[in-house]
Symmetry: C2
Subunit: 188 residues, 2 copies
Protein backbone atom coordinates (compact mmCIF):
# COMPACT_ATOMS: atom_id res chain seq x y z
CA UNK A 1 0.00 0.00 0.00
CA UNK A 2 1.88 2.96 -1.40
CA UNK A 3 5.33 1.88 -0.38
CA UNK A 4 7.83 4.59 0.33
CA UNK A 5 9.90 5.40 -2.76
CA UNK A 6 13.54 4.36 -2.80
CA UNK A 7 16.41 6.65 -1.86
CA UNK A 8 17.06 7.66 -5.44
CA UNK A 9 13.50 8.85 -5.94
CA UNK A 10 13.38 10.64 -2.59
CA UNK A 11 16.65 12.34 -3.40
CA UNK A 12 15.32 13.61 -6.71
CA UNK A 13 12.08 14.85 -5.15
CA UNK A 14 13.83 16.73 -2.37
CA UNK A 15 16.45 18.18 -4.69
CA UNK A 16 13.80 19.32 -7.18
CA UNK A 17 11.91 21.22 -4.50
CA UNK A 18 14.88 22.64 -2.62
CA UNK A 19 16.98 23.72 -5.59
CA UNK A 20 14.04 25.74 -6.86
CA UNK A 21 12.94 27.20 -3.54
CA UNK A 22 16.43 28.04 -2.25
CA UNK A 23 18.52 27.98 -5.42
CA UNK A 24 20.97 25.39 -6.67
CA UNK A 25 23.39 26.43 -3.95
CA UNK A 26 21.52 24.62 -1.21
CA UNK A 27 23.84 22.48 0.79
CA UNK A 28 23.97 18.75 0.31
CA UNK A 29 23.18 18.30 3.98
CA UNK A 30 19.84 20.07 3.59
CA UNK A 31 18.84 17.89 0.68
CA UNK A 32 19.99 14.77 2.50
CA UNK A 33 17.96 15.63 5.56
CA UNK A 34 14.84 16.53 3.57
CA UNK A 35 15.07 13.30 1.60
CA UNK A 36 15.88 11.32 4.74
CA UNK A 37 18.62 9.52 2.93
CA UNK A 38 22.13 8.50 3.81
CA UNK A 39 24.96 10.61 2.52
CA UNK A 40 26.48 7.70 0.72
CA UNK A 41 23.38 7.03 -1.34
CA UNK A 42 23.79 10.35 -3.10
CA UNK A 43 27.26 9.51 -4.35
CA UNK A 44 26.22 5.96 -5.15
CA UNK A 45 23.34 7.03 -7.41
CA UNK A 46 24.49 10.32 -8.89
CA UNK A 47 28.24 10.46 -8.37
CA UNK A 48 27.98 13.78 -6.59
CA UNK A 49 25.96 16.95 -6.32
CA UNK A 50 26.58 17.93 -9.94
CA UNK A 51 25.11 14.70 -11.20
CA UNK A 52 22.08 15.07 -8.96
CA UNK A 53 21.40 18.59 -10.22
CA UNK A 54 21.74 17.53 -13.84
CA UNK A 55 19.33 14.67 -13.25
CA UNK A 56 16.85 16.99 -11.57
CA UNK A 57 16.87 19.26 -14.61
CA UNK A 58 16.42 16.34 -16.96
CA UNK A 59 13.42 15.19 -14.97
CA UNK A 60 11.96 18.70 -14.72
CA UNK A 61 12.17 19.05 -18.49
CA UNK A 62 10.18 15.88 -18.98
CA UNK A 63 7.24 16.82 -16.84
CA UNK A 64 7.05 20.30 -18.28
CA UNK A 65 3.84 22.27 -17.74
CA UNK A 66 3.71 23.87 -21.16
CA UNK A 67 2.97 20.69 -23.02
CA UNK A 68 0.12 19.86 -20.69
CA UNK A 69 -1.31 23.38 -20.88
CA UNK A 70 -1.26 23.27 -24.66
CA UNK A 71 -3.03 19.97 -24.76
CA UNK A 72 -5.77 21.33 -22.53
CA UNK A 73 -6.20 24.34 -24.82
CA UNK A 74 -7.75 22.39 -27.66
CA UNK A 75 -6.66 21.95 -31.22
CA UNK A 76 -6.18 25.42 -32.70
CA UNK A 77 -2.41 26.03 -32.72
CA UNK A 78 -2.87 29.76 -32.10
CA UNK A 79 -4.98 29.14 -29.04
CA UNK A 80 -2.55 26.51 -27.84
CA UNK A 81 0.38 28.93 -27.99
CA UNK A 82 -1.52 31.76 -26.30
CA UNK A 83 -2.60 29.43 -23.52
CA UNK A 84 1.04 29.16 -22.52
CA UNK A 85 1.14 32.89 -21.76
CA UNK A 86 -2.04 32.65 -19.72
CA UNK A 87 -0.33 29.95 -17.74
CA UNK A 88 2.77 32.14 -17.39
CA UNK A 89 0.65 34.87 -15.84
CA UNK A 90 -0.60 32.33 -13.32
CA UNK A 91 2.91 31.07 -12.57
CA UNK A 92 4.61 34.44 -12.24
CA UNK A 93 1.96 35.86 -9.92
CA UNK A 94 1.98 32.79 -7.69
CA UNK A 95 3.55 32.91 -4.24
CA UNK A 96 6.18 30.23 -4.93
CA UNK A 97 7.53 31.83 -8.09
CA UNK A 98 11.29 32.14 -8.19
CA UNK A 99 12.05 32.52 -11.86
CA UNK A 100 12.94 29.86 -14.40
CA UNK A 101 14.77 26.88 -12.97
CA UNK A 102 16.78 26.38 -16.14
CA UNK A 103 17.81 29.98 -16.65
CA UNK A 104 18.85 30.20 -13.01
CA UNK A 105 20.98 27.09 -13.29
CA UNK A 106 22.57 28.36 -16.48
CA UNK A 107 23.55 31.60 -14.78
CA UNK A 108 24.71 30.22 -11.47
CA UNK A 109 26.74 27.27 -12.73
CA UNK A 110 29.62 29.22 -14.23
CA UNK A 111 31.67 26.16 -15.03
CA UNK A 112 30.95 25.40 -18.70
CA UNK A 113 31.79 21.75 -18.11
CA UNK A 114 28.96 21.26 -15.62
CA UNK A 115 26.67 18.45 -16.83
CA UNK A 116 23.63 20.65 -16.20
CA UNK A 117 24.33 22.77 -19.26
CA UNK A 118 23.64 19.85 -21.55
CA UNK A 119 20.21 19.36 -19.99
CA UNK A 120 19.41 23.06 -20.15
CA UNK A 121 20.26 23.27 -23.82
CA UNK A 122 18.22 20.14 -24.53
CA UNK A 123 15.27 21.57 -22.66
CA UNK A 124 15.23 24.85 -24.59
CA UNK A 125 15.81 23.11 -27.89
CA UNK A 126 12.85 20.91 -27.05
CA UNK A 127 10.71 23.96 -26.40
CA UNK A 128 11.81 25.43 -29.71
CA UNK A 129 10.74 22.29 -31.49
CA UNK A 130 7.43 22.33 -29.65
CA UNK A 131 6.55 25.86 -30.71
CA UNK A 132 7.92 25.53 -34.21
CA UNK A 133 5.56 22.64 -34.78
CA UNK A 134 2.57 24.67 -33.65
CA UNK A 135 3.52 27.67 -35.78
CA UNK A 136 4.04 25.43 -38.77
CA UNK A 137 0.56 24.03 -38.28
CA UNK A 138 -0.76 27.58 -38.07
CA UNK A 139 0.74 28.34 -41.45
CA UNK A 140 3.46 30.62 -40.12
CA UNK A 141 5.84 31.74 -42.90
CA UNK A 142 8.97 31.27 -40.75
CA UNK A 143 8.29 28.86 -37.92
CA UNK A 144 11.93 28.81 -36.85
CA UNK A 145 12.08 32.57 -36.33
CA UNK A 146 8.65 32.59 -34.74
CA UNK A 147 9.62 29.91 -32.25
CA UNK A 148 12.77 31.82 -31.35
CA UNK A 149 10.62 34.88 -30.75
CA UNK A 150 8.28 32.94 -28.48
CA UNK A 151 11.24 31.62 -26.51
CA UNK A 152 12.57 35.13 -26.06
CA UNK A 153 9.17 36.17 -24.77
CA UNK A 154 8.98 33.28 -22.32
CA UNK A 155 12.49 33.77 -20.99
CA UNK A 156 11.81 37.49 -20.79
CA UNK A 157 8.62 37.02 -18.81
CA UNK A 158 10.24 34.63 -16.35
CA UNK A 159 13.28 36.85 -15.89
CA UNK A 160 11.44 40.15 -15.65
CA UNK A 161 8.73 38.92 -13.33
CA UNK A 162 11.28 38.31 -10.59
CA UNK A 163 12.13 41.97 -10.26
CA UNK A 164 8.93 43.62 -11.48
CA UNK A 165 5.97 41.26 -11.03
CA UNK A 166 3.62 44.21 -10.80
CA UNK A 167 4.38 44.99 -14.44
CA UNK A 168 2.61 41.71 -15.34
CA UNK A 169 5.10 40.82 -18.06
CA UNK A 170 3.09 37.75 -19.05
CA UNK A 171 0.16 39.92 -20.06
CA UNK A 172 2.45 42.26 -21.95
CA UNK A 173 4.10 39.31 -23.69
CA UNK A 174 0.79 37.72 -24.63
CA UNK A 175 -0.06 40.72 -26.76
CA UNK A 176 3.20 40.27 -28.65
CA UNK A 177 2.59 36.56 -29.00
CA UNK A 178 -0.74 37.31 -30.63
CA UNK A 179 1.08 39.19 -33.35
CA UNK A 180 3.46 36.28 -33.88
CA UNK A 181 0.84 33.56 -34.20
CA UNK A 182 -1.37 35.75 -36.36
CA UNK A 183 -5.10 36.43 -36.02
CA UNK A 184 -7.07 33.66 -34.37
CA UNK A 185 -9.34 32.03 -36.91
CA UNK A 186 -12.80 33.55 -36.70
CA UNK A 187 -15.96 31.55 -37.27
CA UNK A 188 -16.76 31.43 -40.96
Amino acid sequence: MNARPGPRERLLDAARDLTYAKGVHVGVDVILKEADVARRSLYQHFGGKDGLIAEVLRGAAGRDRYRRVMDEAGDDPRQRVLAVFDELERITTGPAFHGCRFTAAEIILTDPAHPAHTEIRAYKDGLHQLFATELHRAGHPDANLGANQLLVLIDGVLAHAITRPDAHPAVAARAMAEVIVGPVAAAR
Copy 2:
Protein backbone atom coordinates in the same frame (compact mmCIF):
# COMPACT_ATOMS: atom_id res chain seq x y z
CA MET B 1 50.28 62.48 -14.16
CA ASN B 2 47.41 60.01 -13.99
CA ALA B 3 47.79 59.15 -10.33
CA ARG B 4 46.65 55.69 -9.31
CA PRO B 5 43.02 55.74 -8.12
CA GLY B 6 42.35 55.26 -4.41
CA PRO B 7 41.48 51.90 -2.85
CA ARG B 8 37.75 52.54 -3.05
CA GLU B 9 37.88 53.11 -6.80
CA ARG B 10 40.18 50.17 -7.44
CA LEU B 11 37.88 47.96 -5.39
CA LEU B 12 34.87 48.97 -7.45
CA ASP B 13 36.69 48.46 -10.74
CA ALA B 14 37.93 45.00 -9.81
CA ALA B 15 34.58 43.95 -8.36
CA ARG B 16 32.73 45.18 -11.44
CA ASP B 17 34.89 43.10 -13.75
CA LEU B 18 35.16 39.98 -11.62
CA THR B 19 31.53 39.72 -10.53
CA TYR B 20 30.50 39.80 -14.17
CA ALA B 21 33.17 37.48 -15.52
CA LYS B 22 33.00 34.91 -12.72
CA GLY B 23 29.64 35.65 -11.11
CA VAL B 24 28.83 37.40 -7.84
CA HIS B 25 30.12 34.37 -5.97
CA VAL B 26 33.75 35.27 -6.54
CA GLY B 27 35.68 35.17 -3.31
CA VAL B 28 36.62 38.35 -1.53
CA ASP B 29 40.25 37.30 -1.70
CA VAL B 30 40.19 37.29 -5.50
CA ILE B 31 38.72 40.78 -5.64
CA LEU B 32 41.20 42.02 -3.05
CA LYS B 33 44.13 40.64 -4.96
CA GLU B 34 42.95 42.00 -8.31
CA ALA B 35 42.35 45.44 -6.79
CA ASP B 36 45.66 45.26 -4.91
CA VAL B 37 43.97 46.55 -1.82
CA ALA B 38 44.13 45.66 1.84
CA ARG B 39 41.38 43.50 3.24
CA ARG B 40 40.48 46.10 5.78
CA SER B 41 39.79 48.77 3.17
CA LEU B 42 36.86 46.77 1.85
CA TYR B 43 35.08 46.75 5.20
CA GLN B 44 36.03 50.36 5.85
CA HIS B 45 34.47 51.61 2.62
CA PHE B 46 31.59 49.24 1.99
CA GLY B 47 30.91 47.52 5.28
CA GLY B 48 31.32 44.11 3.68
CA LYS B 49 30.92 42.18 0.46
CA ASP B 50 27.19 42.84 0.24
CA GLY B 51 27.71 46.58 0.32
CA LEU B 52 30.40 46.36 -2.33
CA ILE B 53 28.16 44.38 -4.67
CA ALA B 54 25.28 46.78 -4.20
CA GLU B 55 27.57 49.70 -4.97
CA VAL B 56 28.88 47.97 -8.08
CA LEU B 57 25.33 47.56 -9.36
CA ARG B 58 24.49 51.17 -8.62
CA GLY B 59 27.54 52.28 -10.56
CA ALA B 60 26.83 49.91 -13.44
CA ALA B 61 23.33 51.32 -13.76
CA GLY B 62 24.69 54.82 -14.08
CA ARG B 63 27.06 54.16 -16.93
CA ASP B 64 24.49 52.13 -18.84
CA ARG B 65 25.14 51.54 -22.54
CA TYR B 66 21.54 51.88 -23.66
CA ARG B 67 21.33 55.58 -22.97
CA ARG B 68 24.49 56.24 -24.93
CA VAL B 69 23.39 54.05 -27.82
CA MET B 70 20.09 55.87 -28.03
CA ASP B 71 21.74 59.24 -28.07
CA GLU B 72 23.95 58.14 -30.93
CA ALA B 73 20.92 56.95 -32.89
CA GLY B 74 19.59 60.42 -33.61
CA ASP B 75 16.31 62.03 -32.73
CA ASP B 76 13.56 59.76 -34.05
CA PRO B 77 12.23 57.87 -31.00
CA ARG B 78 11.52 54.75 -33.07
CA GLN B 79 15.05 54.63 -34.42
CA ARG B 80 16.40 55.26 -30.94
CA VAL B 81 14.54 52.28 -29.50
CA LEU B 82 15.49 49.96 -32.33
CA ALA B 83 19.13 50.94 -31.98
CA VAL B 84 19.08 49.31 -28.56
CA PHE B 85 18.32 45.94 -30.13
CA ASP B 86 21.10 46.37 -32.65
CA GLU B 87 23.40 46.96 -29.71
CA LEU B 88 22.00 43.88 -27.99
CA GLU B 89 22.93 41.77 -30.99
CA ARG B 90 26.47 43.11 -30.69
CA ILE B 91 26.60 42.44 -26.94
CA THR B 92 25.14 38.96 -27.00
CA THR B 93 27.41 37.73 -29.79
CA GLY B 94 30.52 39.15 -28.16
CA PRO B 95 33.08 36.83 -26.54
CA ALA B 96 32.75 38.28 -23.04
CA PHE B 97 28.97 37.99 -22.86
CA HIS B 98 27.69 36.37 -19.70
CA GLY B 99 24.09 37.49 -19.52
CA CYS B 100 22.59 40.45 -17.71
CA ARG B 101 24.48 41.48 -14.60
CA PHE B 102 21.31 42.60 -12.86
CA THR B 103 19.19 39.57 -13.66
CA ALA B 104 22.02 37.32 -12.54
CA ALA B 105 22.35 39.14 -9.22
CA GLU B 106 18.61 39.02 -8.69
CA ILE B 107 18.60 35.26 -9.19
CA ILE B 108 21.71 34.38 -7.23
CA LEU B 109 21.14 36.59 -4.20
CA THR B 110 18.25 34.66 -2.71
CA ASP B 111 18.16 36.69 0.47
CA PRO B 112 15.40 39.29 -0.13
CA ALA B 113 17.07 41.62 2.35
CA HIS B 114 20.24 41.92 0.29
CA PRO B 115 20.90 45.58 -0.53
CA ALA B 116 21.50 44.68 -4.18
CA HIS B 117 17.80 44.13 -4.78
CA THR B 118 17.08 47.80 -4.25
CA GLU B 119 19.61 48.74 -6.92
CA ILE B 120 18.29 46.15 -9.35
CA ARG B 121 14.73 47.38 -9.00
CA ALA B 122 15.87 50.97 -9.40
CA TYR B 123 17.81 50.07 -12.53
CA LYS B 124 14.89 48.36 -14.22
CA ASP B 125 12.46 51.06 -13.20
CA GLY B 126 14.88 53.56 -14.71
CA LEU B 127 14.90 51.62 -17.97
CA HIS B 128 11.11 51.56 -17.95
CA GLN B 129 11.03 55.31 -17.58
CA LEU B 130 13.59 55.68 -20.34
CA PHE B 131 11.57 53.67 -22.86
CA ALA B 132 8.21 55.06 -21.79
CA THR B 133 9.47 58.53 -22.59
CA GLU B 134 10.54 57.50 -26.07
CA LEU B 135 7.27 55.73 -26.79
CA HIS B 136 5.31 58.71 -25.55
CA ARG B 137 7.26 60.93 -27.92
CA ALA B 138 6.49 58.47 -30.71
CA GLY B 139 2.77 58.87 -30.04
CA HIS B 140 2.32 55.40 -28.59
CA PRO B 141 -1.20 54.91 -27.22
CA ASP B 142 -0.03 53.09 -24.07
CA ALA B 143 3.56 53.97 -23.31
CA ASN B 144 3.51 52.13 -19.99
CA LEU B 145 2.50 48.84 -21.55
CA GLY B 146 4.86 49.38 -24.46
CA ALA B 147 7.79 50.01 -22.15
CA ASN B 148 6.98 46.85 -20.20
CA GLN B 149 6.96 44.93 -23.46
CA LEU B 150 10.35 46.32 -24.44
CA LEU B 151 11.75 45.34 -21.05
CA VAL B 152 10.44 41.80 -21.47
CA LEU B 153 12.14 41.66 -24.85
CA ILE B 154 15.45 42.91 -23.46
CA ASP B 155 15.45 40.57 -20.48
CA GLY B 156 14.41 37.77 -22.80
CA VAL B 157 17.23 38.42 -25.23
CA LEU B 158 19.85 38.58 -22.48
CA ALA B 159 18.55 35.44 -20.78
CA HIS B 160 18.04 33.38 -23.91
CA ALA B 161 21.33 34.32 -25.54
CA ILE B 162 23.25 32.57 -22.78
CA THR B 163 21.91 29.15 -23.71
CA ARG B 164 21.12 29.64 -27.41
CA PRO B 165 23.25 32.42 -28.87
CA ASP B 166 23.00 30.83 -32.30
CA ALA B 167 19.28 31.63 -32.31
CA HIS B 168 20.23 35.33 -32.42
CA PRO B 169 17.46 36.36 -30.04
CA ALA B 170 18.32 40.04 -30.45
CA VAL B 171 17.44 39.90 -34.13
CA ALA B 172 14.24 38.03 -33.36
CA ALA B 173 13.36 40.57 -30.67
CA ARG B 174 14.05 43.55 -32.91
CA ALA B 175 11.30 42.45 -35.25
CA MET B 176 8.87 42.44 -32.33
CA ALA B 177 10.13 45.82 -31.17
CA GLU B 178 9.37 47.23 -34.59
CA VAL B 179 5.73 46.31 -34.07
CA ILE B 180 5.69 47.98 -30.67
CA VAL B 181 7.17 51.29 -31.76
CA GLY B 182 5.08 51.38 -34.90
CA PRO B 183 6.17 52.15 -38.46
CA VAL B 184 9.24 54.36 -38.76
CA ALA B 185 8.23 57.74 -40.11
CA ALA B 186 8.78 57.90 -43.86
CA ALA B 187 9.89 61.06 -45.62
CA ARG B 188 6.88 63.21 -46.52
